[in-house]
């Protein structure tokens, strides 16, 4: 059994074999693997006796359940109007510059993926950046770069 199949078996044992377990199982895989591979979605469908299309339909609905490979750390910059007016474009520019990638891409060392996100609910403290599960409000170019460099150092 491959690593991913073992992981899924464990998750299904934990959450149960019903359709209701689909979301927590998918979230569990993303937590470990950072994305849902074709192989992973098929294994989930088999375990829960669902069609593969059904699993893909659910996975592709949620932005936070990625179906393409992602880096270890996912940076999301809020792109909605308040953050836009507070300068999210400059922040993106600064991060693209320091990470040497464009929005939607992953760094060569697979450490970072840079994405934009719809409203994160922090309009009063924009612009806002989300790194994995952690929110960084009221950032500027310098702060954003420092945060990312900090994470890069910590994970060395």
């Amino acid at each position: 059994m491959s690593n991913i199949e073992t992981l899924i078996k464990t998750l299904v044992e934990k959450h149960g074999k019903t359709r209701n377990s689909l979301m927590p199982v998918l979230q569990g895989i993303v937590k470990e693997e950072h994305f849902l591979s074709e192989e992973a979605m098929i294994a989930v469908a088999k375990e829960l006796d669902l069609s593969a299309a059904d699993v893909y339909g659910t996975a592709s609905f949620y932005t936070f359940l990625d179906t393409v490979p992602r880096g270890k750390n996912i940076i999301r910059i809020c792109k909605t109007i308040s953050c836009h007016m507070k300068g999210k474009d400059e922040i993106i520019e600064a991060l693209e510059d320091v990470l040497k990638i464009k929005v939607g891409e992953t760094t060569h060392d697979k450490k970072f993926t840079l994405l934009t996100a719809n409203c994160l609910g922090w309009c009063h403290k924009g612009p806002v950046m989300l790194v994995n599960d952690e929110v960084f409000p009221e950032i500027n170019q310098q702060k954003a770069v420092e945060i990312i460099e900090g994470i890069a150092k910590a994970s060395k």
Partner: protein
């Protein structure tokens, strides 16, 4: 639904309906038409298209009538100015993302969205096209189904059909917002996924997003080629469905007119799949009795229950979902493919035609047959046994193209050979029909007497219950069948792949002790097939079933083994059922496929 009655007013007219009834159904009761696109009588409520909105007095917002149950004292307006304006906007919004190249569309003239656009006088685009419909490319990878996302309005009828009626879920809603679409696993082409080609999604698609792959032009070309001898076969359920696309109400039998139309169109020989349906009974009935003998007398391990193999959607479903039960399938080819194999051998020989100059066309109520005829196993004549499969709908279109006034046609008879059939073959078109036909023959072979049911009508096998069961006591058998004396033959019937799935799970778990199971891939059997006229509903299918059983009762011969052409072919060509030649031409094998 509760028995409690709720009183309400619709367009100021009082009406009482059972608690739990939707506003839509209550309005129908008063003969008020409320348009729908996502709602369908065969499917669960979705409430996502919003064209069925109505005004409910006191409510702030318009209500989707398909998804709102009535309540006591409710006052509803189904056609107020507010309602009409909102509906018009909904239709305009749907059209803003729809590829409205209607003149090029197979569904032109049969499209629910087009009808509404016309009714609401939709003019120039008032909304910006955010989803670039015209950039989308149709998926024509499947030989049966064409899927054109540029025409999809995301009503999700197909998704519910594939899930609720067929338990396949090859289609799902993927992504969201302006990226939302109806797609397969990882957007793979249809021919690479678990799709069974049943076409039930086509029958319920309100636009031209899902249609059959059409082969009308290829067939015209063959007909117009003087060097080709073009034979056509017509499936049992076509004769009771075709009329619906040519001006008749559901339930009209148009057998004679259909034959006349096919001759007028220019087919060289108009023959009947019913002939090979009778032949199927001889082969499959013998196969069942042989399996029972092996199990009961010889103590051999044989796969029981035996399962019918006429429905190619069901066969592909079984190959994907229950590959462990493939040995249970009868090895008999479907009547279409038996016909194809015999047309280019037996028929060709009798008529003195070189089979390489033959083109074999079949008219089917089915889209899966288009896939079936291309299976590599289906070339036992040395050529592709069946060249082109047209649906009932495609034939209706050809009749129109040929300039035929169908309703005025005089009835004509099928040509010979391979045009003769019995009532037992006609009922193949309804769920339970193959079983009934098989029992009429097998019982008589074993006991020498007719089946003990009034007028040969085995009523327990009829009707639209999801899974039907019946038991037949076998007594006073002929000496050669003594091992069956006192045995009780236990049979089951499922129609629609959802019901088949339930039954197969029971078989897999050893909880289903039947001898023989009939499965048809589509709801109602072939009469509700994916190639039949649109729309479909439980009422329409009931009327088609009545027509099928009426056709059966009207025929002089109603038992397959009495078909004179069947007796003849065994004498002249095949030898005996399950004989060497039958084995070569009429039987096949199946291939396990992956579900994922």
């Amino acid at each position: 639904m509760s028995e409690y009655l709720v009183n309400l007013k619709i367009n100021n007219i009082p009406v009482s309906v059972k608690e739990g009834t939707t506003i839509l159904d209550a309005a129908k009761k008063l003969n008020f038409n409320v348009p729908t696109l996502c709602n369908h009588p065969d499917l669960s409520v979705a409430g996502n298209c919003r064209v069925c909105v109505v005004e409910v007095k006191g409510a702030r917002l318009l209500a989707a009538s398909c998804a709102t149950p009535v309540s006591e004292g409710m006052e509803v307006l189904t056609n107020s100015e507010k309602v009409r304006t909102a509906r018009k906007h909904v239709i305009e919004l749907l059209l803003s993302e729809h590829n409205a190249d209607c003149t090029k569309c197979f569904k032109n003239g049969h499209c629910e969205l087009q009808d509404l656009a016309s009714e609401y006088r939709i003019g120039d685009h008032v909304f910006i096209d955010l989803v670039k419909a015209k950039d989308k490319i149709a998926d024509i990878s499947s030989p049966s189904i064409s899927k054109d996302d540029s025409k999809c309005i995301r009503c999700q009828r197909c998704v519910r059909t594939c899930d609720e009626l067929q338990s396949v879920s090859a289609l799902a809603v993927v992504k969201k917002g302006d990226h939302q679409k109806i797609s397969t696993f990882m957007n793979k082409p249809l021919h690479e996924v678990v799709c069974t080609n049943c076409g039930q999604c086509i029958n319920r698609c309100p636009t031209g997003a899902l249609t059959e792959r059409t082969y009308i032009e290829e067939v015209w070309k063959a007909i117009n080629d003087p060097l080709k001898h073009v034979v056509v076969q017509t499936a049992p359920a076509v004769r009771i469905g075709l009329g619906e696309d040519l001006g008749y109400d559901p339930g009209e039998r148009v057998t004679g007119k259909m034959v006349a139309a096919l001759k007028h169109i220019g087919f060289d020989s108009v023959l009947d799949t019913d002939f090979t349906a009778d032949l199927t009974i001889m082969e499959e009935g013998t196969e069942l009795l042989t399996r029972l003998k092996k199990a009961l007398v010889d103590g051999e391990k044989v796969a029981l229950p035996m399962m019918t193999s006429c429905s190619p959607g069901w066969i592909k479903f079984q190959e994907h979902m229950f590959p462990d039960l493939l040995d249970n399938l009868s090895t008999c080819k479907s009547p279409q493919q038996m016909f194809g194999a015999l047309a280019k051998t037996y028929y060709a020989k009798k008529k003195g035609i070189d089979p390489k100059n033959m083109v074999s066309v079949s008219i089917m109520p089915c889209t899966a047959k288009k896939f079936e005829c291309g299976r590599p196993e289906m070339r036992d004549s040395g050529y592709q046994d069946v060249d082109y499969v047209l649906t009932t709908r495609e034939l209706a279109m050809m009749v129109k193209q040929a300039g035929i006034n169908f309703m005025k046609l005089e009835d004509e008879h099928y040509d010979s050979i391979m045009g003769n059939s019995t009532g037992a073959a006609v009922i193949f078109g309804a769920t339970g029909g193959v079983m009934e036909a098989a029992l009429r023959t097998a019982y008589e072979i074993v006991t020498g007497r007719e089946v003990p049911f009034t007028n040969l009508n085995i009523m327990p096998l009829r009707g639209f219950e999801g899974v039907k069961e019946a038991k037949v006591m076998i007594k006073d058998v002929k000496p050669e069948w003594s091992f069956l004396e006192g045995a009780e033959l236990s049979v089951a019937i499922a129609h629609g792949l959802h019901n088949a799935n339930t039954l197969m799970k029971a078989v897999r778990e050893g909880k289903a002790n039947y001898h023989f199971i009939e499965v048809m891939g589509c709801p109602g059997g072939c009469l509700g097939g994916g190639g039949q006229p649109i729309p479909t509903s439980p009422e329409i299918r009931s009327k088609r079933a009545e027509a099928i059983y009426g056709e059966d009762e009207g025929l002089p011969l109603r038992k397959s083994h009495e078909n004179p052409e069947v007796i003849q072919i065994y004498k002249d060509f095949l030898g005996e059922p399950l004989g060497h030649k039958s084995h070569d031409l009429l039987h096949t094998h199946y291939k396990p496929r992956i579900r994922y």
